[in-house]
Each structure stands twice: as structure tokens, then as C-alpha cells.
Amino acid sequence: MTSVLSARVRTAYVLLEDGARFDGIAVGAADAATGEVVFTTGMSGYQESVTDPSFAGQIITFTYPHIGNYGICETAMESDRIWARAIIMRAAMNTEDAPGAERGWLDWLVDCGIPAISEVDTRALVRHIREAGSMRGGVFPASMSLTDAMERVRAEPPMKGADFACVVTPKEMTVHGAGTGPRIAAIDTGIKGSIVRNLVERGAVVELHPCTVSAAQLLAGDPDAIFLANGPGDPAALDYVVATLRELVGVKPVFGICLGHQLLCRAVGLQTFKLPFGHRGGNHPVKDLQTGRIEITSQNHGFAVLAPDGERTIPGDEPVRWDTDFGAAQLSHINLYDRTVEGLTLLDVQGGTVQYHPEAGPGPNDSLYLFDRFLTQIAEAAA
């Protein structure tokens, strides 16, 4: 076996802020890490997950036991680095045998300086989080005392109210794609590579702007549409992006995914809230309330949007319509697991967002058509 597993077994543990503790062995970088401990139920796509900027500030627990089965490779990167703070697994693998593997998963985690723990009873951990909610926690070497570890956990700022977009956003604007399609200006709060890839593959030219960009700066380039990216942290902490957005809605077509969805919803007057333990995985059913169709979706969000009436769920199967500062709007999609809001459509101006991840990477491709629809709508707006 390769280096990591043949090394002397180092024990480690996960500690949650409520005192719950789960022992395992250290398999990543020899370090401690703290953050919000969350779980994802996806059975494959570990590399895509950990490089998704939306996981910034979080420690990922994989519910599927074997993680690392097919190694890692350049093409599965969703950004240029790992954003998760640490990884919790039941049975980590470090094999490089798969034909496409360029490096072993655990070797790569070590290379990247990411602590990881394996042989944890992840199911017990997930059941705990399911009951008690996502909370702060950390992965610590066994040599660190519980008192020291708890001190570090408590020192970690809570996810509620945290602005992580400013952490993951690029310093400079970059341009992607050289097609003849529309120019799309994205507010990059942590965009996934798959989103950019899907837009570029369809001929779009995508500008990725730092999230502090002003509306005037964006409009100066006269883009065909504005795109609101996914990203980490609490949408309620991003008033500055919401303010920017309010200057853009109705001026340019606005589309968004995940955090972008939450921000557009805020811009049209809705509130967000923290889900007890989030939606993370590749198997959530989402219903399009307009067509009645159900898609199996890729999900990764810890916050969600409240309905106009302030409720967390949408009881009926009809789109919820209400008036906003930008004309009529409707909540267009719901999650069939817990009936939370999954999509917004603006009816009088061009705009629409989804809470889930149509770009997949990881997860199902059921919703890729949204990118086609998005580009068609831009073309219609331009015509």
C-alpha cells in the first residue's frame, strides 16, 4: 500500500461543540481543523465535493463508507483547491489503480494539507447531527486534549452570520470561453467549475467578478446577462451583494444557482434561514411546480429561502406568486423531501434561480437542460 496507510496508525477524533466525540484514525495532513461539521449523502464524486467552494468553512462527513475508490484527477476539480477544512470518513481508500487516477486520494489530501479522519462511525455521527443539527466541531489528533480541542471549536465563528463569499471570491476578474454566444457577467461568490464549463460549452463567454463588484462596474461591460454563483456561508451576511443585485434586476436578465438563488430571493424581498442540517447529496427530488416534472438533483446548501408568508415550507403544489419591487414573482420549485423552496422565477422582468445544482459535478445530470433554457432566455431578451 502507499505511504499514508503504511505509516504508523495515528489515532484521531472528531469533537462537536455539544461534546459528542467520535474516534478514528488520522489519514490526511497531520493537523487539527475546525469548522461546521456537515454531511453529504452522495455515494461518488468526493473530489468534486471537497473542491466545491461552497464547502468553505466546513468539515465534510461522507455518509458513504468507501471514499477515494478511484483516486483523483485533474478533470474532476471544481476549483483550484480543496475548500473543505477536513474530511470525515468510515473507510478511506488511497488506491491509484483506477485507469484515470493521477494520485491517491489520501496522498492528495496530505499534499493539500487537509486533515482527514477515517474509521469513524459516520452513521452514528450523522444520526447525531440529524437530531441535534449541524454544529461547529473539529478533527483533532489523539494527542490533543479534549479541553484544548473544545477551546478551538468554540473559537470557531458560527456559520450563521458568516460571510464566506469574501473568502472564496477571486481577487481579479477573469474571462472564460471564447465562443460567439452571450457575454455573461458572474458575481463569483465561489462558483463551481462545472457551472462555468456548462456555460462555456454552450458558447457563452463568462466573466467572473469579485463579489464586491458594483452594479456600475458590471453594467459598464454591457453583459447580456448577470449570473449569480453558488457559494459558502450565510446569505444573510451578504447585504452588499444584495444591494448590488437590486440595481441589476430588471436591467439585465439575472440567473443564479444555490447561494445566487438565495441572494436573488433576498433582492426581491424574501428572507433566508438556516436549515437544521442542510441538504447535501445527489438524490433530492425537486418538483417544478409549473410543469409538474420531478428531477433528481445535486444539492449543497445549509441555508434556504423562506416563503413570502415567512413559512419554511410550501404546502401546496401550485407555484406561490406574490408582488415584489420588481413586479410579480413566483416560487417555481420545491424540494419534495421537506417542501422547502428550490426555485424562483421573476415574471415581469428576466430572471430566475434554482437552489439546487443543475451543473451536477457531483450528482445527476437531470437538470442540465436549465443551461440551455438559460441561454435561450438570454437570446430572447437580446432579440
Binding site: T41, N283, N365
Partner: protein, 1055 residues
Amino acid sequence: MPRRDDIQRILILGSGPIVIGQAAEFDYSGVQACKVLKEEGYEVVLVNSNPATIMTDPEFADATYVEPLLPGPVRQVIARERPDALLPTLGGQTALNLAKELHENGTLAEYGVELIGANYEAICRAEDRDQFRITMEKAGLKMPRSAIASGWVQETKSVDLARGLAQAEDAMIDIGLPIIVRPAYTLGGRGGGIARTPAEFRAIARTGIEASPVGQILLDESVIGWGEFELEVMRDHNDNCVIVCSIENIDPMGVHTGDSVTVAPQQTLTDRLYQKLRDQAFVVIRAVGVETGGSNVQFAVNPETEEIMVIEMNPRVSRSSALASKATGFPIAKIAARLAVGYALEEIDNDITLCTPASFEPTIDYVVVKWPRFAFEKFSGVDQRLSTHMKSVGEAMAIGRTFQQAFAKAMRSRELDSIPSLTGSAEELLTRLEMPGPDRYDVLMAAFAAGADAEEIARRTKIDLWFLRELQQLAADPQAPFAGQRTYKAVDTCAAEFAAETPYYYSSWERFGTMGADGEPVAAHEVRRGDRPSVVILGAGPNRIGQGIEFDYCCVHAAMTVRASGRDAVMVNCNPETVSTDYDTSDRLYFEPLTLEDVLGVVEIEQPEGVIVQFGGQTPLKLAAGLQAAGVPILGTSVDAIDLAEDRGRFGALLARLGLKAPPYATAHDVDEALAASERVGFPLLVRPSYVLGGRAMEIVYERDDLADYLRRTAPADGARREIFLDRFLENAIEVDVDALCDGRAVWIGGIMQHVEEAGIHSGDSACVLPPHSLGPEMLDEIREHTRGIALGLNTVGLINIQYAVTLDGRLFVIEANPRASRTVPFVSKAIGVPLAKMACRLMLGESIEELQLPSEAMPTGHVCVKEAVLPFDRFTGTDALLSPEMRSTGEVMGVAADFPTAFAKAQAAAGALLPDDGTVFITVTDGDKPGAYAIASRLEDLGFRIVATAGTAQAIRGMGVRVAEVLKKVGEGSPNVVDLIETGEIGLVINTPTGSGARADGWEIRRAAVARGIPCITTLSGAHAAARAISAGRSGEPKVMSLQELHRDRLRVG
């Protein structure tokens, strides 16, 4: 769209007898469908010829027809019951083919029956290889290059073998070897194989054309060595599709998926590649046009190039869908049935969470491994190499938190009768691995233990290195995966994202050191035990010959009875095909291997009132002593009584005390002792090893030399001391089987069955009749008296099965007694309308016979039931299609009619050996049988049959006045011989009693040819008598169908 109100009555077709490729999974699917449709308020009409199924219990349908699954009887059922719809997707290939026929012959249109679940066009697009290929090409999906060779001649509606072979020859040149050969419309790829040389190709092409009912074979470009993956897809009428489960075959392409060790979920594909398969699976189900329901799509994936090819799809529930249901907790058949009657996925609740809809994809946080169970030890001389032609008879599944846990648990769930031989050098072991056989993983583990290299094994086997690295670690330390604490975790479809309501558990081993917020260790298990007393029922493990679905039937009945008694029923079993492992069957299901340690783990959590070991066949009985030693209460008949019945000496003493006769017997431990004892006991002898089920290695020997030969052949490889039983064999005796209930004080006899074949044929392989057709009232009284004596003598509490032999001079001998559920319990229960297993379970829970309020006479008058065995000879070329003391049947059927001959004819038809109405009968019998052959020949002659015979038989029956139209040469004496005539289809019935067991004897060739052509081949004179009477009875028109509910109108309240 909610429930359809325009249909009220739905016809469901079962899959018939258990055969290789079509097993208990269809009982599981059918039961789920029946339950759901009844819950939805529909009337359910069911046709299935298999009495050992739970689905044919009268309470699961409104009208249950145990009738042959043939167009004639089903048409009669349709005419009587006038169903609005036919749901054909739950009874495997049998039901689908039958539905297709009923459509084609106009029956469905004539009676206005709508096909739901899959329409005719979709069935054709999926099942017809040519149409499937065109459909896939149109949808833009790739399949291996292929061609069809067909010998079908439309004008004559017959198969021209030469034409088929010529087409195959051309195709071989186009495609290039190696080529995979698959016959059209056969179960589990019967008659197919992989050809690597032109000679091999020609041989397999011939068998394939012969095996296909339409003389058609599909020739595929070989993708041997590619990864093999299966996806279980569901689709509703809103066109919403979900994948329930992905399954990866550890054995790469080339080994039939039914014979492969498989893993769920898939382990080796990247997310991107897996999503591609998922997308393609949806394209397949939409292109084929399965509007609602489940389908199984198989893919081959080249791991190097990531090329994907579609291999096949089944537009119905399947073995894999049963596995996927058990692996994930997503009940595919149940949901498919709801979808078929109008619901959409989102309108159906997830049973397990009760708070989320069925329109989702299960995600799991454990690993599932399925192992096939083979029975090659039953078929000496057959080719044990695995190929695209399925050969396994059952399967075991195991769940673990890691692959190694699951693999090791599955391995110990197999319950092998014989330990594979693993001697040899590492190189020899590696060479064995190149040709996959039933013991390949045992060999592989031994090779690792001998220091073999994973890369080298990968090179030779094409098994993915991911699996090999894991297996290498497991071989290095088999105990490593089981370090830490045993915990019981729930199967919940959602990786703990939501709270599960359904108590379906598996054991896993986790590290110590999991503390809750309060600093206390978190409970090691998730089991919510509740306060009610529980009873643990031990299941039968993987299906194999000798221990089949009958025992699962009994276990399910036990669960129902325990629940009805106010206790919690706890099921332990590891067979994914069965109804017993449906989480709906018991209050708590533990999907666990049936070993003492695993069962004791469950007992520790459950602290049950007792454990039931009587119903799961030999598997739980083997654990009884260990459980008792561990202080676990065994319900019903004591462990000591079970031992008394098994121990020849103790049982002999009991019989002597009761004044009952048994054939002379002896027990020996080595060759000399056996030879000495044989003189004392007297020939002919029935010899067998002790403690066997299904007559393993049981033979009749006529002289000393034969016995010496037997002892040499069956000697244990390690020279271990063994116990051999020698019994005097009673020639020409009538065998009788009795199933009875006993509470320790009173005895109630459920059924006295007379075997059609003489003693010497294993009871599991013999046809039997209820009530007995030729035993007088005095003999029946004597049998009843004996049965009472033995049942009470053994202090039986529950069921007992006793076998007797009645000699020609009217003497009654006790052959053996088994104080437990027997293979015939479901048959008897259905014949008499009293559920014996439920009654037995009530006795075990403390009730008395009197309290059961059983009818005074078990067998109602007015009908006769015949049970016939179904044998897998057509799958095992190279084995003799001959009945013997060694059981070889995989399943059974039941024929019900007003008289014995008609019931026998129905049973024959249901078993697939449709007796001819006219034509030519070939008769060849041993000298001893020649006098008896006359009566049969004469009867058949009177019925208008043309008689042909071999010289000796011809001479004998001519002498008695029968006209023999033709005397045939013996095989090997030139043409035309009988084998030629069988092959050309000229002979419609073969009566051939065996002359010795020499392989490749004349009879062997004759029986092989008959089996290959699907011509009934009767190997006993008594069977021939019954057949002649049945043919005669058939002259008065097609036998009428009748439902069990009509038959037992007065009794069904019992239980």
C-alpha cells in the same frame, strides 16, 4: 394521476416452479404486488402453478389458481374471472412470455383485458434481440456488434437447425471470435455460452438454436473482461425516472450476472462515468417504452477507454430488482404495482421514512455483497465453468459497513455442503482462476494467502484491482473487518438523513469510542426493541437443491403466526430472493448469515422468548444444539428429540419399543466396517452419509463391488472419519410421505401422500398424490397409527414428517422421521386448505391441538392434488437426466383436479413436460420392467399412439399382443436410432427405465436428447402408468380450472 378507477379486477401471473434463472424473487415480487393491489381495493386474480409460494396462499388474492402457466388454462381463468387488466411484469420471463402469447392469440382482446405495467410493443422491443438493437441504435446508444442466426421457418412454424447453423457461420466471420452466443426467449441465458474457437462456436450455436423456442440465437461481439454494471430504473407515467440502485459485478463481463458475485452500490466508477450510465439507463427505458414500472438495464464498461455498451434490459422486475430492493429498502415490486394502477412516484410514500415520497434515489451508507450458491455437487460430470449461461441455484446477500465486512459475511452465508479443494501452488491456483468456476473466490483468497500478487490476478481474471486489493487485505487478516464492537444498524434508503420507521437491520463492526454529548458512549445499536416479547425465526439461507422456497414459506407463516399471537416476530435470514426477508413480513428483520455467532448476536439484542428452528430446513437445525448450549430457549420439539430422530441407533430403539418395522440398517465409519455390515443388512442397499438434506450422495447399490466403489468415490479428501448409513433398500415398494401436527399429547395428520415413483427416487424428486390413489383403508389406518406412535414417541411439538415404504406384499416400513417442517408442507396446506406451518407455530407457542379446532378429516373429498418435481437437467449438459435417491429438482408444481389422472396431467403440463395427445411413443425398459411395460404399451396403443421400441422391449410387448410399429437400433448401432428420431421431433413421449448407472450408457443418450427437445421422458414404470392414465383423461377435453378459494370455501377461516 391517482389510482385508476376504470379497472376493478387485475390478473397477476406468477413465474411457476423454481428453476435456475427464475427463483423465489418472483414470489417476493408477486406477494408485494398482491398486497398492494388489495390494499388499493382491487380484486386480485392470481395464476401460479407453484404451491410452495406465499403468493398462492389463498389470503393473498381473491381468486388463486394453482394451474399450469400455459395459454389454455390462463384463458379459462380469464373467461371465468373476467379481469379488466393483466399485470405481466411480476412473474419473470414466464409471465411476460405468456402475456405475449395471450395477446398474440387474441385472448386479451377477446375478453377486453388491458396489459398494464408493460405494453405488448415494449415487451417485444425489450425481449426481441433484433428489435432491441434497432431501438438502441435509434436512441444513439452503443451495443456490441452482433448478428442473429435463426433457424425459424415461418411457413412450417418450426426450426431448421441447418439453416440456423449456416447463418451462424457467416456471422462468425463478420463479428470475429470470441463471440457470445445467447438463445432468444430462454431463462437466464439457457443454452448460451462464450465461444473462443470455431469448433466451440459451432457446438454452442447448435445448443443455442435447440434451446430457443424460436430457434434463434444472438451472436455478440465479446466484451469479455469489461466491467459489468446493472442499474435498476423506475419510471412513472409522468415520465419521471429514478435509479433505485447500481450494482457492480465483481466478475467482469463473461460470467452471467446471476452467477457473479455482485456489489451494491457500484464501487469503481467515477461520478462522471456513473452519471453517464444513469443517463443512458433512462434513455433505454424511455426508448423501449416501459411506461410505468421497473426495469433492469445492464451495461458493459471498458475501464480503460470508458466506452459504454448496453447489453440488455428486462422490462419487468427481476432477480436484480429483488436484490436492489433488499439492498436499499426501496420495494421495487410494490412501487411498480402502484405505478401500474395509475399512481405517480411522488404520490407514493417511501415506506421506510414515511415522510418522504418514492420519487427519489436511495442512497446507502453500507456495502452489499451478493454471492451465488451453486449445486454442482449434485450433478456429477457437468461442466462447472461459469459463462453467460446461468448455473447457480440460489444466492446469499450480506450487508456490512465496509466491502470487506460484507464480502466476508456473504462468504459465510453460503452454507456450502463441501469445502472447495484449495490445494496446489500459487501458480496452480492462479491458473485455476483463469477459467471462472463456482469456487473462484475461495481459490482467489487461497492464492493471496499463498502470496499471489494482485496485479497478476487482475491480469488473469480482469477483476478490478479495487476489489483485489480489498480481498488481499481480507485474505491477510480475515478477522480485521470484525474488530471493535458489533452494532446493529438500520437499512433506511437515505443514509440516516431521515429517521427510519422500518426496522430492517444488519450487523456491522465499529470502533469503540463514540460518545454522545453527555459523554456517555452512544448506544452500539439502533434497534428499537420495544417491550413486547419476541420470537426469533431462523430462515433457510440461500436456496439450494434440497432446501428451497418451501422452507421460506414455512418461516413466513411462522412470522405471521407469531405476530398474530401478540409477540414480535423477528426474522433472521440472508437470502435476498425471499418473502421472509421482506421487511414487511416480520416486526424486525435482521439480514444476517445463519451461523451460530451471528444468530447469538441477534439473540443478545432481542432476548427472545424463544427461537424457532423447525421451519428453515437443515440450516437452523444445525444451530439448535449450539443455541441450546448457549442457554437460548428452543421452541417446539426439543433438540434432543431432533437428535433422536437423526440418530439411527436411538431411532431404531424407539421403533423397536413401538413395535414398528424399519428396513435392516447399519452404521459404518470406514470401508471395512461398511463392507462387513453390508452382509448383515443385505443387498440392495441404500447408502448415504449421515445428516444430509436432499439425499446428498445417496445411492442404491446392488452388490459388494458397487458399495466399495461408492465408498471410494465419496471418501472425504482429508481422510476424515465419517459416518455412513446403510439401509436395506426395499425394491418396488410404494413410498409414502406423511405430514402431521403434534402437541406432545395429540396428533393430527395433515396429509398422507403416495409417491408416484417407487421407493428409491428421492421424495423431493418424486411426484406424489394426495389423497393416496392405491392404498387401502387398512393400510391408511396402519400409517395413521404408526405416525401417532412416532410423533408422540419423539415428543414432537410442532410438525413432523415421516416417510414410509409399503412393500408389494403389504408390509409397512418406517424409512425415516423428521420432527420439523418438510418440503411438502406448503403443498399439503394448499391441498387441504389448512395452513400446517401456522398451526405448528401455534403449537410451539403453547396451544394444544384441540384449541386449533382442526377439521376431523384432513383431506376434503372431491379433489385430488398431485405435486410434481421440476428438474434442471436442461441446464446441465453432461449430467444424466435420471431420477435417483439424490435429490436434484429445483422446484415443484401442483396439479388440482377432480380425479388423479387429470391432476397428474395438469402437474406434468405445469412442469413443462406436456404429455402428447397423439403421435409416437418410444418404450425401452429393463428386463425386470418388461412384464409391466405391456400394460402401459397396450393402453397407449388403445389411445391411438404409435409404439416404437428397442428390440428387447419390442419382443416382450409384442409377445403380449401389442403392435410395435418400428424397432429402433440402439444408439451407436447406426441410424435410424432413437436419438435421431427424438432430435427430429418424431417422438412425443419417451418411457425409458434405467439399466445401471454407467455414464454414457444408451439410456443416458436417450434421456439427454429428450431433455434437450423438451419431450417428456418418464424413467419409472409407475410414472408411465400415471402418464397413460393422464393422457386418457385428457381425451375428455381440456381440464377445468378451479381456484383454491372455491376448493376450500369452508376451511379458509382456519388459521
